[in-house]
Structure formats: structure tokens, C-alpha cells
Subunit: 398 residues, 2 copies
């Protein structure tokens, strides 16, 4: 088979940063900084909070509100509908013969990452698929069999400016999630389709059709470290992103986990826990749960608030107030360097974050309208605390 | 009807630049810098070069190659298929009642532009729809009736780095076009859907389903000036972009045409004309054609080469070599200032562009593989000049 791209050494050496963020410069380590024990189990999607809410596990009000938590805000409905529309693009026929491309996993990894950036991903990473990252059953109880060796993870930012204008739990919140869910669905569908055209199996996993849990993939691909919120946190985006994955047998080189000093930072920070409107995020120490040793978020409590949020659509307050939710800039590069090298300064950095006013809402950035669909008609939302909080058992702070 | 966003003055004053490029700082003028005369006519899509090529107007080889010009490269096939897949999202049902949002066109314009940027457009602009911008008939000969007052134009970059790695007319070329066609289709579909949910009519116009000609909209919305290539050129992207539009009756404020000194620059530059592999771009002066006074590109000649390009998929050599094809950076800001204020330096700038090596290919940026699908199987392309150029009447230079 004829080979091409003979000058691969040149190519591999010259371009050290492929995307908008210097992911290539992060310190790589052997294991994720969060301990994942042998007791880690595959997750059954029927035990997901959405499924539990739908079954009424969180009471009738949450079950009712779940049905409209996204649909009630017109923009979040629009971007979510797009995700559903892209659903059928996740899978497809594999070309019967393999393309005449190099079989060198390093060249292929670089190719696929460059493709992801070309298709406008903010970050692309690669890992092996650990068996425990594959869900055991789908929402309907069908067993999931997925044998692909590698996962390509595609990340899209949720937009810093919009978070500036929001308080994190208002009407734009669901749209911020689905902005990135829809963009990653779009990109992952295209990459999976392309790999299949090259003659290799590939499936896109995105919002509403994941067969893999994204968090362990983000840890193993070195896109983030596990944070106090209970998800992966990236040093350049914080938790202000969503991710999709493409699983495949195209031979690739895993990126490896990263260590940028987050474990000590989250230990002292606690800003997300203090600010969480549903008090779902732990103020305490790491504990063992689901096979991970990490901070334990009360996921049902978080979900109940998000699904039934009477003063908004969904919630991302932890994303907004996190000190890692920052725009680009050299001052933030200095802080990242400090967290990595001078952990003793972490608590000072957290204090400075408050003093500088980060995490506050700046209404000059509020470009959207507050709207709520009620019985098919868009209305200006009434402040819903009295209307709805009383109906739920969600213990909310004022 | 209850109103919101009372602090609109504050909002309108504080954020002067909404997107990644300082479009708001450009000098706005009354009329496009290209004269559009009263003799301008609506265009019949049946007279488009694709339709003419399909009918055999450019000979049997071009007609045959047109069928595979995109499909023959796997990535361009993938991104174009996505555009087709999004086709049904262009139109939809308008909500029966209008949302309780401000009716101030200035606030709505800012809202819609911010939405476009939130959905990851690189540039968003607004204009009235001139009657002549609406196609007279579609490809099948059906008359087009489109009465929407306003157009929102959504622009996505074709990726500077990828153009660095290409020679402009090789295998990645079609993918570069469809990268931006697919992204703008995606964004325009979402915006149209959203406006309809607010209770206003809206239709998305994107690659394969345009009912409006994009170039006059780009001129009137001040996204670009007409350039020697015969399309709109933006001061920050050059011609390295594709655009989609949303037409609507949502009340908006048109942005107005821009003048950044391009007419004099293109008069002296001619780099695109010199480098065009099919010699389709004029080396001469402006002439009157189709109601515009501008440089006349031999569009059939360009199309014949693009459709039948034996050494690549499509062509964008003019995009690559254009001195306006630059990354961000203050040095380029200085040059932009000079073109605007010191036109006498234009020819020196063009010379410097050559001396600095802009427009050359840097293979370190070539991340894709050269591949060609022949009879359903991907192959390493054979250099096709002998094979194909002889079969066509396209007068090619060596």
C-alpha cells in the first residue's frame, strides 16, 4: 500500500500547539489525579438522574417540570432540538476497504486532532476506553456492547461573555449547556462519519445518545482533572464546557492524564460549594464513592434544582463562580503557573478572585431576554420562588 | 405588553465589540463602494455555473467531474452531506403569538447579533434585502417569492492554518469551503428557528438552498467590499469565509456598507489574478456587468477548473494568495490602517507581502491526507494533469 506524508517528522516537530489552548504544554502523568479504584463499576443509564426524575423518584413536581425544563426557554429548546436532529448521524456504515493512509498511530492522532480543530472544536483529546466508562445498559434497559479501543473527545466552550452576563442559574443557563452540546454533537458526527469513510468503525457519542460516560474519558485524555463539583475541570476553560466523544478502532496514541495542581486548589477553594443554590456540592473532604476517591456531589439534589428551577432554565452557577472560569490572558497564565508550582498561595488566589469581583453578574453582558413558555405561549417569567419552591422538597437557600 | 431589559442604554453603550473582530469600528458609508446601477437584475438560479455545468454547457468532462468534485474527497463529502442533512431546518412553523420582547430594532439587532456570536459565528451583520438580491427562479424553474424585509448574515472563517498548509487548489480545498458552509448552515438554522419561536417569520438561506444572492447582502451589511475576485472581501478574513443568511420581518437596524480602502488596493494588487490557476480573474480595470461596476471574473472558466480540478477537490487559490488572508495581530492592524489612510503605499504593501513569503505553502501545516475516491474506493491520487487537462477545454497554465 502506497504511503504518503513522508515528512511526518517535520510535521510532528514544527507545530507544537494544534488548537486554541496550549494543551500540549500541560504536565502529563501516569494516572488521573483522582484515584479510581478497582471497585469502579459500569453505570446503568436507567439510574441516571433524568431517568429517576422521570420515574417520579424526586416527586411529582420535579417529574412534571423535567418535561419542560429545557422547552420552557425558546433558545434552549432550539439548540436542544438540533441535538436530537443530529442523533441519527452518530452511527453509519463503514467503508468496505481501508483508505491508503499511514498506519502510524502518532500521525493518525495528529491528523484526527487537527481535523477536530479544523471543525472548530476548542479542545480535542484521545484516550483508551476503559471498560468501566462504557454504560452497562441504555435508558430502555438494553445491554450496551461497545468494544472500540479508543475515544476521541471533542470539547466546546460555553462562552465566557455569556457567563459574565448571567448569574449562572437564570434563563440562559440551559442554552449555555446546549450551545456546547449541539456544537460538539455536530463536530463528533462529522469526525465519526469521516473515520467510517476511511474504512474504520466509529461511533459518535453526544448528548442524548452517549454509550460512554464522559468524565472518565476526560480524565484519561488529560482534558481535565476531577474537581469539587464532581466533573472534569480544564485549566483553560474551568468547567465551562461540554464534550462529545467518538469511539473507534482507528489506531491512535492516548494523550494521558494531566496534573495542573487542581486537587489542592479545590481542597481549599470551595467557592462552588458555597455558591451552589441547592447546596448539592460538598464542603467536606474527598470520600470513596462509585469507585472514585473524590468530593461527593449530591447529584439528585443538583438535578432536582436544575430540572425544577422556577427562576430559570437549568443551572450552571458552579460553572460561573469557579475561579477557573476565566478568559484568556497572561495574568491568568501566571495564576495557572502558581497553582501548579506554589500551592501554598491557592487560598490567597481564591480570596483575590473574590476581591477582583470575579463570579459577579455584569448585566452589560446580558444579551438575552427572560422568557418562559407556559401552555405554548411565551411570557415574561414571574419570579417563581413562591410559586414553585414550596411545592418541592428541594432545600433552597434565599 | 410588559417590557424588559430596561437598562438597554447601559447595554448598548458598554459592549462596543460583540464578536471576535472589531466590525463595529469600521467606517460605514451610505452606498457600497462598488457601484450597483439600476440595471441590476434578479438572478435565475438555472443560470448558475453548477446548473450550466450539469446541463453540459462546459462539455462532457466537466459535467461528469461535477458529479464527483466534492464526493471524491472523503472529508469534503462528509461536511457537504451535513449541509444537505440540515436542509430541512431552513424553514418551519412560526409561533402563533409574538413573544413579549422589546420592539426596539436596536435592541433586537444587538440581541440577534449576540445570539449569532453565542452560536459561534465569526461575524454577524444585518441589512435590508434589496429586491435584486432575491433569486428570480430556483434550480427547477419555480419563481421565488420572498418578501422578508431584513437579512441577518452569518460568517464563518475557513481556517487560516489550513490555508497555510495548502497550495489553495489541492485536496483539502472543497473541505475548506464546506467547513464554513456547514457551520454557517448550522448557525443560520438555529437563528431562524429561534426567531420563528418568537413569533416572527424567518427562513435560513445556506449552501444548496439560497433564495438570496449572498454577495449583495455582504456588501449592504458592511461585511465586505467587492474585490477583484468578484466576491465580498472582509478586512479581517479576506475572502477566507463562507456566509449564510436568515431573512425575516423581525424589526432590525441595517449595519450599512463599509469602506476600508479596498477598491484602490485591488486596483494595484492583482495577486489573485496572477496566481489563479485557470486565469479566470481579470488583470484589467472595472467594467459594467450584471448591473455592477467591478472587476469581471470569468465565472464559467473558474467553475470549469474547480469542478474538474484533477489535482484536488475544488479550488481556493485566490483565497490563499490574497494579501488580506492573514491571522490576527497588531502588525496586520497597522497594514489595515495604512490601506485605509495611505493608499499610495498599497503597491509597496503588496510587494512586502511577497517578500515576507505570504501566500506560500508551509507543509508543516498540512494535516490532511491526499485521497481520491475512484469507483467507490479511496486511492492515493495520481497527478492528474495528463489524465484530465487534455480532456477539457480549460486553458490551464503550467
Amino acid at each position: 500500500m502506497k504511503k504518503q506524508n513522508q515528512k511526518s517528522d517535520e510535521i510532528l516537530n514544527k507545530r507544537r500547539q494544534l488548537g486554541p489552548f496550549p494543551m500540549e504544554k500541560l504536565k502529563r502523568v501516569e494516572q488521573p489525579t483522582t484515584q479510581i479504584t478497582e471497585s469502579v463499576q459500569r453505570i446503568d443509564k436507567r439510574e441516571g438522574v433524568g431517568e429517576r426524575a422521570e420515574r417520579g423518584d424526586f416527586g411529582p413536581v420535579v417529574a412534571r417540570e423535567l418535561e419542560r425544563d429545557v422547552e420552557k426557554y425558546p433558545l434552549s429548546a432550539v439548540v436542544r432540538n438540533m441535538v436530537y436532529y443530529l442523533g441519527p448521524r452518530a452511527e453509519g456504515k463503514v467503508a468496505p476497504s481501508k483508505a491508503p493512509i499511514p498506519e502510524d498511530p502518532e500521525i493518525l492522532s495528529r491528523h484526527i486532532k487537527s481535523l477536530g480543530y479544523f471543525l472548530r472544536a476548542d479542545i480535542v483529546g484521545i484516550c483508551r476506553v476503559p471498560a468501566y466508562a462504557v454504560y452497562s445498559h441504555d435508558e430502555k434497559g438494553n445491554p450496551i456492547e461497545l468494544k472500540h479501543k479508543f475515544a476521541i473527545i471533542v470539547v466546546v466552550d460555553q462562552d465566557y461573555d455569556t457567563f459574565l452576563g448571567s448569574n449562572g442559574s437564570d434563563w440562559i443557563s440551559g442554552s449555555q449547556s446546549y450551545r456546547s452540546y449541539s456544537a460538539t454533537s455536530f463536530i463528533a458526527s462529522l469526525i465519526a462519519d469521516y473515520i467510517r469513510k476511511l474504512g474504520y468503525p466509529a461511533r459518535a457519542h453526544f448528548c442524548q445518545n452517549y454509550q460512554v460516560a464522559i468524565t472518565p474519558l476526560l480524565l484519561w485524555a488529560g482534558i481535565g482533572e476531577m474537581c469539587r463539583v464532581g466533573v472534569a475541570l480544564n485549566p483553560f476553560l474551568g468547567v465551562r464546557f461540554k464534550a462529545a466523544a467518538i469511539t473507534t478502532d482507528l489506531p491512535l496514541v492516548p494523550d494521558g492524564p494531566i496534573d495542573f495542581g487542581l486537587q489542592e486548589f479545590c481542597r481549599v477553594c470551595k467557592k462552588c460549594a458555597v455558591e451552589c443554590p441547592s447546596r448539592a456540592i460538598s464542603m467536606g473532604d474527598k470520600v470513596m464513592y462509585n469507585g472514585y476517591k473524590s468530593w461527593r456531589t449530591d447529584i439528585p439534589q443538583c438535578a432536582k434544582f436544575r430540572f425544577a428551577n422556577p427562576n430559570g432554565s437549568s443551572c450552571g452557577r458552579c460553572i460561573k463562580v469557579c475561579p477557573w472560569n476565566k478568559p484568556s490572558g497572561w495574568t491568568h497564565d501566571v495564576v495557572r503557573w502558581s497553582v501548579r508550582n506554589l500551592p501554598a498561595l491557592d487560598s490567597l488566589i481564591v480570596k483575590m478572585d473574590d476581591i477582583w469581583g470575579y463570579g459577579k453578574q455584569d448585566t452589560a453582558y446580558k444579551w438575552w431576554f427572560d422568557l418562559e413558555e407556559v401552555d405554548g405561549v411565551l411570557q415574561v417569567p414571574k419570579r417563581g420562588a413562591e410559586r414553585l419552591y414550596k411545592e418541592t422538597d428541594v432545600g433552597l437557600r434565599e
